[in-house]
Symmetry: C2
Subunit: 323 residues, 2 copies
């Protein structure tokens, strides 16, 4: 099996590459080749024994995508994209990468013809939804994004569904909840504090909580997100059609519950490193985000969330914590 | 007021042009200029006393759109598009006209800058919805089109919402029900019989009904559709945001009720010209279409459907019947 990953140098891309290398197989079929693409050259997985090709290219602005697709990968993980904040700040770049890039990938697949129909796993986002919301967003809730990023992801979902319906590819779109705990340095994303209030205290550093502890949100660990991707790649085609874009399950909890989990796992002294300093701008942005989902279809298709927020913290400690 | 209409040579485009010419004003402001664009040169309205510019151009493939927009029209009616059947048969053309054409129009508006923010009325379609459906499709039902046309319309809605949110334009998307009675010759559209079973018998000709009389569908007359467009153009901006794409109200009825209306208006002899000959292909296509809506938002914003199916037939007799 030949697997192609776009956005392979990103956090999820690297973890997915590692997972596939360790498994050595997908859906019980051995993996013999990985093609890894990103704007910066993706690292080669150390443990993988098959063939690896790495490509540094912009999805929308080069013919490298078409070349990679001409190698007829069996599964394509399309993770590449400009993130939410950047897509909002740079309108043209967001549309070029997230919309034109996705369309270029789909067109490259269609251009192969000759009954080539790869499984295409597309990472969408809960940013396709915009307030106001019902208490739990059902699977048939409309997409009314309140960001350009969410709009581009919603358009990607629509294209994926149409290209799949027409038989050009075999798509699955998965809407990821907010990923925590993200390893690495704090970033400027409005959602960054969700990782920060766990990661920084565990590293012996102070963290700022800019919203009220009553804020409710839905999360998945990077490990669970990679699990969703691998599960999506292995789903039988007829389990999905015609509605191929799915909200993923996650852990829905308050910030207070997240802090309580941290306290249980790491103690009072660590939890005390969280400083409350409400930021009205961040609070307003977060108020527009989805809180809770009823992802009945994804659950019935076997997608599994982390057990609870403590499991999310433990996944971070096992997979990423260096302390 | 300067008004720009794309797709001005189409059936709805011509009727909208006539209506605006007769009214001489929109939202109580006098209309002094009409710019009319289509792939074939649109006819000049005879009754209009202001300035008229007609343009024969392809929205996606020329810079005529940008030139028309540089004239800073106050209101843009974007009706141009490849219809459902053609978009399904010619994948590239559908995306080029319906997606790239719409994007080119939005980009032309954005390029003006300088606080230019026209009202942009976008004709979407109930084809953005795909089966299975609830008994009445609510305003917050997800868009899961089952045609490339429906996909392109759904993407147009998403772009319109984002360009409006960013302040580049002031959009309203209206999802039109199936328009009946269409004047003119029978066409090959799967929905063509809905007009045919009224129009042909009234003209003394036989018509074929290819589906069961129990089929339920939602309709608007061309006159009501033009009314929706004009109403959308005059809506106050803050009545709409942030959810600017609206399902229009229509007349929901069975085919049997439509035939009963025809019989009441034109008599038994006319209604007897409908011949039942079920076509399994058409029946299957129609089974995938939306049947009924609960367009609460559009109703609360003052959009008004025809009173009943008899009113739809009478509108045809008054506006288009030559017999």
């Amino acid at each position: 099996m030949h697997i192609f990953i776009t956005g392979a140098a990103g956090m999820i891309g690297r973890k997915l590459t590692e997972r596939l290398s360790e498994d050595g197989a997908l859906a019980s079929k051995p993996i013999d080749k990985l093609t890894l693409l990103d704007v910066v050259c993706p690292p080669k997985p150390e443990t993988f024994t098959g063939k690896v090709e790495t490509i540094a290219a912009d999805l929308a602005a080069s013919d490298e995508t078409a070349k990679a697709i001409a190698g007829r990968p069996d599964v394509v993980f399309h993770l590449a994209g400009v993130v939410s904040g950047e897509a909002e700040l740079d309108f043209d770049k967001g549309y070029r990468v997230n919309l034109d890039g996705t369309r270029a990938l789909l067109e490259a697949i269609r251009a192969v013809g000759d009954d080539y129909r790869p499984r295409l796993v597309y990472t969408s986002s809960i940013a396709v939804f915009g307030a106001p919301f019902p208490p739990a967003i059902p699977d048939d809730f409309h997409l009314t994004p309140l960001t350009s990023y969410g709009t581009q992801k919603a358009i990607g979902e629509a294209l994926l569904a149409d290209y799949s319906r027409r038989g050009f590819c075999d798509g699955v779109g998965i809407r990821l909840p907010t990923i925590v705990v993200r390893p690495g340095k704090p970033n400027k994303a409005a959602s960054g504090f969700f990782s920060g209030i766990i990661r920084e205290p565990l590293a012996g550093e102070d963290a700022v909580l800019p919203v009220a502890e009553t804020v409710v949100h839905t999360h998945a660990s990077p490990r669970a997100a990679v699990g969703f991707l691998v599960h999506a790649a292995a789903l039988p085609r007829d389990a999905l059609t015609p509605r191929i874009n799915l909200s993923m399950p996650g852990v829905c909890c308050t910030v207070a519950e997240q802090i309580a989990s941290l306290r249980r796992i790491a103690g009072d002294r660590v939890a005390a490193r969280i400083r409350r300093a409400e930021d009205p701008l961040v609070a307003r942005i977060v108020a527009g985000w989805p809180r809770n989902f009823d992802p009945a279809r994804a659950k019935s298709l076997g997608f599994r969330a982390d057990a609870d927020f403590s499991a999310i913290i433990r996944a971070y400690l096992e997979d990423d914590f260096k302390g």
